[in-house]
Amino acid sequence: MIRAYRTPIVLGVIALIVIVLFGVIGSEGDSTFRISTSGDFFTVPDFVLPSRGTALVLGIVLLAIAAASALLVRRGGRVRAWVLAVFGVLAVFATLSWAIAGGTLPMTQLLQGSLALAVPLVFGALGGVLSERVGVVNIAIEGQLLAGAFSSAVVASLTGNLYAGLLAAAVAGALVSLVLAVFAITYIVDQVIVGVVLNVLVVGLTSFLHSAVLDSASNSPGRLPQIEIPLLAQIPLLGPLLFEQTLIIYLMFIAVAIVTFALFRTRWGLRLRAVGEHPQAADTVGINVARTRFMGVTLGGALAGLGGAFFTLGSVGAFSQEMTAGQGYIALAALIFGRWNPILATLAALLFGFARNLASVLGIVGSPVPSQFLLMLPYVVTLIAVAGLAGKVRGPAAAGTPYIKG
């Protein structure tokens, strides 16, 4: 009985937290949201709200949503995903207005930074989607990101061509996943173990090469230039976010669209998913399971590798040891939170990016809330969301299981 009411209960608890913590005992003062930047067509005025009042109003709205969903469950219905999404956005907004009480939050920087932090996660999660949808568990996203970051820096430095660096990142990611594929598919080694071993191997290898071989000539690739799309870039908020970015970010948007279309609308995708769900069924209609899996895993690795290039070519412009810092595992979490769906996984990755960026922006703005708490809060919310709201999460049926003929 309790299980059926899990979602309304979680929603109710969050609503109460908002009302009590942010509303009743919240901070005094106004919260200012700055939307426009100097380069925009026209200036949207700052958005000023009383912190406590906002939290109280939003908290009551949230409570109403929780009550409505409880009623829905009682009538035997299910709480829809869009209701949860609206709830989530409102809850985040309430948290923001509490956290910046008395200060000003530059929305553009907040979202821009979030997007930047999410880029490797999105690529990693997309690579994971391809790999797991075809039936191979990909723990090695971390290794693929790191390999991509390393080779893009080296190749771009040595050739002097940043785009050659991008290509090298994809190739490096593909090579790492090819090793995964060979061991997991051909030699039927446990996929999780191979993945973990690969991660450790890539960390060791790149760290060694970094300290033993790389010098300033081979590790100074520079950064990809920003490509501004005329006119569109001047739209307030959206312009700087979507139309004034480096090539990698445009590639990311294209990759999400292509992967989604290919997976669900093409023959290639249908066969790939069939292999990941029921390899024997695919085999009995003449689909080569091993070849399909090699293709899916390798392509996934190439995507993840491309994401790795963002660490070097897209942001700091040089490789440093273990610079991916566990982002591959976060990408894996985004993939699962996003239910193995490229678009949902992308949204999850963006959420994680937002969570990380929030802490640093609030630190700069000077929020009264301790930064460590802010750093933790989004992940806590995510944990609650995954455990309480995600419901029955089901991955590809054959992911992790090798296919042995006969």
Binding site: R265, V285, G286
Partner: protein
């Protein structure tokens, strides 16, 4: 199209699964391959379908030798297969499953779903199937899933259609419908290979019967042959098709179930107000199509199912709320339906498996240590008593045949003093000899005065063993009837029709 298998030999290591098998299937003929589980029928069909490669022999279609390196080749040559375990992706729609592997596209690899849907509708209309191309496979009943398999094969213009044990998952009514479909296919010129171990169905539908035993063709028969003749041919010796038993002498009610209800994790009702009494010294068999609550009923009694409403009382003691261990100690013996998963630990030896239930107590343990001598003696004795054929009691159970594994389970469960004996699918996947042995043990248990509950989806077994038959449908006991009730009536009950 004429199909000829000539001298097919397939070996797995030292084991010869198919030994120089010759079969000719004439165009528009229903050709039954009859044989026990493990006789090599499925292996032969997997060779035909390109899943296995034969060491010797040839496959000829209309006299032309074929070389299949995979199922794709076999399909292109016009061979279709309705697999015993459906080869359908559960999360895909009907149309997606049917088109998989030969998808219509709008160019550039983009799926043309409209054409695929139309194809499904067209073929299913030809047979009056009424399939919804957009239904998800996992939401469809097994009988309908099987039709999807048939449509899938036909959508590739199969000229020879192989049905591998197609009736194992069907109700008697669905089986009759399937036989109708096979006749219809035959009229339209499709050659059919029908693999089965069920004599009744083979006799009902086949034009020619080829009997296979231990990988060899041992003879062929006309469909007019008697069940007795076919069975002897199949097993290689005269067999008793009926279970020898005296009339039951039922005593008092031992197990009494009242208003038992349960839901699964998704909140669907799996048991719906079950009332049932079982007397001492009788066999009550639950009949029903797989998935109508039988598994849940057995699990509920044994204590494997939580969230129960109602009561289960064994000789006046309530069982609900007790752990499995407490229920077993209360005198319940249990043969689970999934033997290799729940009945035994494959990696353990015969001896270890025989004392799994009492490994923590006298006489097998004292304090923290096992008394290995006692365990060995017990295992030797039980192995002899139950005729477990192995290389000794230290053999890992996973290496035994299904029949011998089941003997180990029976030996363990029957060697405690019992107040109730439950056996789910007690003979699933066993050869005729082992089936006979298991049935004898069950009847002997009854004759010793123990109440016995049998759950079986094999109607023949239910009818042969039961003193009373309870039919389950959608979590309810539809009716409790005598074992001499007609099959038609049992079939209707199994479909939930209460006349």
């Amino acid at each position: 199209m004429q199909l000829e298998l000539r001298g097919i030999t397939k070996r797995f290591g030292g084991f010869t699964a198919n030994d120089a098998i010759d079969v000719v299937v004439e165009p528009g003929q229903i050709h039954a391959l009859l044989g026990e589980n493990g006789a090599g029928k499925s292996t032969l069909m997997n060779v035909l379908y390109g899943l296995y490669r034969a060491e010797e022999g040839a496959i000829l279609l209309d006299g032309v030798e074929q070389h299949f390196s995979g199922p794709g080749d076999a399909m292109r040559a016009g061979i279709g297969m309705v697999h015993q375990h459906f080869m359908l992706v559960p999360v895909f729609t009907v149309a997606e499953n049917v088109m998989l592997g030969h998808e219509p596209t709008k160019g550039a690899g983009v799926l043309d779903l409209e054409t695929a849907r139309a194809r499904v509708r067209e073929i299913s209309a030809r047979f009056g199937f009424d399939l919804d191309p957009d239904a998800r496979i996992e939401d469809l009943p097994v009988g309908v899933q099987q039709r999807v398999e048939i449509v899938k094969a036909l959508s590739r213009d199969a000229k020879v259609l192989v049905f591998d044990e197609p009736t194992a998952v069907l109700t008697p009514q669905e089986t009759d419908e399937l036989i109708g479909i096979m006749r219809q296919l035959k009229e339209q010129g499709t050659s059919i290979v029908f693999i089965s171990h069920k004599l009744r169905e083979v006799r009902a539908v086949a034009d020619v019967i080829t009997v296979i035993r231990r990988g060899k063709v041992v003879g062929s028969a006309e469909p007019t042959a008697s069940s007795q003749e076919l069975a002897s041919l199949m097993v290689g010796r005269a067999v008793e098709l009926t279970v020898q038993k005296q009339t039951a002498k039922p005593g008092d009610v031992a197990l009494s179930i009242r208003g038992l209800s349960a839901r699964n994790e998704q909140g669907t009702v799996t048991l719906d107000g079950v009332d049932l009494d079982i007397h001492r010294g009788e066999i009550l068999a639950i009949a029903g199509v797989q998935g109508n609550g039988q598994t849940e009923l057995a699990n509920a009694i044994i204590g494997l199912l939580g969230g129960l409403e109602g009561s289960i009382s064994l000789e006046g003691r309530e069982l609900i709320g007790r752990s499995v261990k407490q229920v077993l100690d209360a005198g319940v013996g249990f043969v689970p339906e999934d033997r290799s998963h729940d009945g035994i630990v494959k990696e353990f030896t015969i001896a270890e498996n025989l004392i799994l239930d009492r490994s923590d107590r006298e006489p097998f343990a004292s304090g923290l240590s096992l008394k290995l001598g006692t365990v060995r003696e017990f295992a030797e004795q039980k192995s002899r008593e139950y005729d477990v054929r192995s290389q000794g009691i230290e053999t890992k159970v996973g290496r035994l045949s299904g029949g011998n594994q089941q003997k180990v389970v029976l030996a363990r469960e029957l060697s405690r003093p019992l107040k109730l004996f439950i056996a789910s699918q007690p003979t699933r996947g066993l050869d005729v000899g082992s089936i006979q042995f298991v049935h004898e043990q069950i009847v002997a248990t009854r004759d010793a005065g123990v109440p016995v509950l049998i759950v079986s989806t094999e109607l023949d077994e239910v009818v042969a063993l039961a003193d009373r038959i309870a039919v389950m449908y959608q979590g309810r006991i539809v009716d409790v009837v005598a074992p001499d009730t007609s099959r038609e009536r049992l079939g209707s009950l199994m479909a939930g029709v209460v006349a």
